[in-house]
Amino acid sequence: MSCLMILSCAPYGSRSAKESLDVALVLAAFEQQPAILFLNEGVLQLLPASKCPATHKHIGKIISALEMYDINELWIEQESLDQFGLTKEDLSQPVNVISRAKVSELCSQYDQHMVF
């Protein structure tokens, strides 16, 4: 059963982003490594530690753990990056960039989708 997690929560301001990544790690612990697609504000989860507000715990710690859990298939939507004036080089992790037009094709490759 292959799973694609679609994460569109901003990293800070609510617990949603952390809780969605927790699900990813638990799935991996059960040997069902999900692929992850970062959409909209979700792309901000991939910013490096220096951009983290001092009062918040940096979500990058969890993001960098993804690799340790063998979650290697990370996707990010080009249009979402554009929306924040970011490029692939601004991100803390190597990711595959995908255009909005191709997202549905990506989704169709997975049995299950978890949307956060």
């Binding site: 699900v23 638990v26 799935l27 059960f30 956060f116």
Partner: protein, 152 residues
């Protein structure tokens, strides 16, 4: 709920030779009592699955959804009590209602065991609901044909 007509009002439980094969579902409820519309959709959807003979392996309450498992919410008389509706559905169909333990503890929802462990003053997990780890969501998702999530 005036104005709403649900399929369950129209269709009786499926005949054995139903044209659609029965599937196994896991339902994730991420919306809480304050997102009434979404929470009600989750409940009605789950009910429809059961009425139509599908198997619902588990309903998993996560994020805001954990608040639906509190027995200490008091609703105005003319409003739906979603907790009671979930409990009734669970009784009617022997449906498992799992609540993420980590989020529940952070939201002040505890069962007898956690109440003792953390020496808290009250127990408020509603009957029919069970605290469990995220692993139970992961294992349910492996065994399910469909995973449907509500809220966000």
């Amino acid at each position: 709920m005036a104005g709403f007509l649900y399929m369950s009002d129209l269709i009786k439980p499926p005949a054995l030779h139903s044209p659609h094969p029965s599937l196994t579902y896991t339902v994730i409820v991420r919306c809480g009592p304050h997102q009434q519309g979404q929470s009600l959709s989750a409940l009605e959807f789950t009910k429809e699955l059961l009425v139509h003979g599908h198997q619902v392996l588990r309903v998993f309450f996560y994020q805001q959804g954990v608040h639906l498992s509190s027995s200490l919410r008091v609703m105005p008389q003319d409003e739906l009590d979603l907790t009671a509706l979930w409990q009734q559905l669970s009784l009617d169909y022997d449906l498992e209602l799992g609540v993420c333990i980590a989020v529940a503890l952070q939201s002040g929802i505890v069962d007898q065991q956690e109440c003792r462990r953390y020496e808290l003053s009250a127990v408020n997990l509603a009957p029919q609901f069970t605290l469990m780890g995220l692993g139970q969501l992961a294992s349910a998702s492996v065994e399910s044909d469909r995973l449907v999530s509500f809220g966000g």
